[in-house]
Amino acid sequence: MQSAHLLSRPSAGSQTEKFYYDNKTVKWFAYAVCVWGIVGMLAGLWAAIALYYPQINLGLPATTFGRMRPVHTNAVIFAFVGNGIFMGVYYSLQRLCKARMFSDTLSKLHFWGWQAIILTGAITLWMGKTSGKEYAELEWPLDIAIAVVWIIFGINLFGTLLKRREKHIYVAIWFYIATWVTVAMLHIVNSIELPVTLWKSYSWYAGVQDALVQWWYGHNAVAFFLTTPYLGLMYYFLPKAANRPIYSYRLSIIHFWALIFIYIWAGPHHLLYTALPDWAQSLGVVFSVMLIAPSWGGMLNGLFTLRGAWDKVKEEPVLKFLVVAITCYGMATFEGPMLSLKNVNAISHFTDWTIAHVHIGALGWNGFLTFGVLYWLVPRLWNTPLYSKKLAGTHFWIGTVGIVLYAVPLYWAGFTQSMMWKSFTESGQLRFQFLETVTHVIPMYITRSIGGALYLSGVFLMVYNLRKTILKGTFVADEAAEAAPLTQAVVTHGKPYWHRVIERRPMQMLVMSLIVVAIGGLIELIPTFLVKSNIPTISSVKPYTPLELHGRDIYVREGCYLCHSQMVRPFRDEVARYGEYSKAGEFVYDHPFQWGSKRTGPDLARVGGKYPDSWHYNHLLDPTSMSPGSIMPSYVWLFDHEIDTVHTYKMIRAMQTLGVPYPDGYAQQANGDLVAQEQRIRASLKADKIGTGPNKEIVALIAYLQRLGKDIRTAPKGQTASAGDGSALMGN
């Protein structure tokens, strides 16, 4: 064991430098965490209530579930947690590096740039400007802005590392570096899209490839935006709050490398039993299961840090929050691999089980860790004790009860849905209509929203408590510190090998992370892109007509994919309920894919031709008129708004650029076909005594819905049989 004097502060003298930590940026990020946390959770509560009281949208497009849900997810992930990451990084990085942030200007640009993106993002999502890919909904101008701000953050991060006064890079910093590198790569690869207008783009990828890229992104967004940066925060703030070193530093290093190496491979577990090739699915499962090891290593490392200090946990709200956060991390990272097992996933996928699972992570791990850090940080930044520990304790209990009330009903709902979907009568008929499985879980939805409301009220308590603390303290914008400069080459453990190469160290960290992450991603992606046979073509699958394209844009805009899947899995019940299971070749013209990840409503992959046009017309005007008890909102505005046929040309041209085989020069005549198809639908509506004006959005949407799953029905038998992913029809 090394001697303790190594740990002591550098002795004052000619060798030390005096400098100042920038607390102001930390403060602004902390404020942003509180503000966006409340906005994001309110949006979530709104969406939760919309599931049993759809009229909460007040008849407005912006406030329907399909638009509130992306606002909620984007706000809590990128605004609440995002600002939480930056708050924690800007505070801890400076102290771990014994250096002020690289550039105050960049810090400012980073802060205001990020907030501007969030604000614009929320507004555009409410307006229905969305790319239609979950967790990456923001449209192309914002995607570019995110990349720019992310690079600003990167320069500031690596710049600080280069001018650090502490040669050792503490484990938390590696997590920050991995976060930066991987998120940059994920964001860029997943956001490759072709702009059509200022706020509309089509994903460059189509169908099964788009799905793979999207879930490779989606899964790793969880890994590298919600997990690794927060693990970095855990490795800094937990030892600080408990005033004891992490249980095993060696374990934390293993945790880091194992985690980033394995995480990147697990994405396909979001696409089990879909049209994704089987080998990719299995690969995702194997790596998901392996993830338990590093995740639990990290959790235990955190919890063991408190060994012998549990008396402190009893008194210190900060530690209470951190302990529950770490426990939830352990629960979510155990459940995740379990849900990745194909037999469990067969039950859980498309149900509320997934929603419960992610909220253990979101409310418990991210939320509680953020609260713990805030309760620890604000008193330090304002140089005063917390206004009320008791209130913080109350917040802790309200929050914990909130999580339980949120999660338990949804686990119940998820399991119930799945069992009801898969239930057959003795004579071999499906036992339940889909609608029965919806109305059955409504009490669970109500309880869940109560849990969410409790959790949110805890946040209000926290904001009040922090506000009071801030009012009685004095903020120290520039905190003085002193440390010896690195160039003095302080020998810390008798190994005088140290030299100036140290300055290059963060770059090595960056490249190591990149390799580890890139190898995993590339090996999964490349074969799908290169091997054509992975996406067998089905000759009867044709590009969408111009009117259907317009309808599809509306489908994406209204967020239909957030409640309706377009993916029939090869299970007996799904084939009986929806029709033939989905083939990869069916989606080759889908930019973006719309498989969805949740069935609050029934699957729509085979809905085309199932009902007359008038049924869809009436159903979208008032869903309960066709399906009594339905929780789908009314889409009245579709009956007034008109599609913009001026854009048809651009849309067809864009699709042609993406490789959709419209004939040459088709863009010019597209509107002719559009009008002809529209007149046919209006005529069929008229036959059912429904009159509609020209160019109404509703007609375009009906055209799209009636197209879904139609092509496959005319496919030659041999083609569809070999066109699948190779998996046999599953009985269950």
Binding site: L7, R95, H168, Q209, V318, Q508, L514, L522, I526
Partner: protein, 55 residues
Amino acid sequence: MSVLVVLLIASLSVALIFLGAFLWSVKDRQFDDDYSPPRRILFDDFPESNHLNQP
């Protein structure tokens, strides 16, 4: 889709260059000391002692 292949090949070559850097840095001694770093972070570097203490 061909642009993707180009993109991925580019990333792969970059990754390979980085692989060399990775092997080089493994030889480096960043991980030799696992005792002092976790303890060092518990100490703050205040020039004076007028700040709030550890909890």
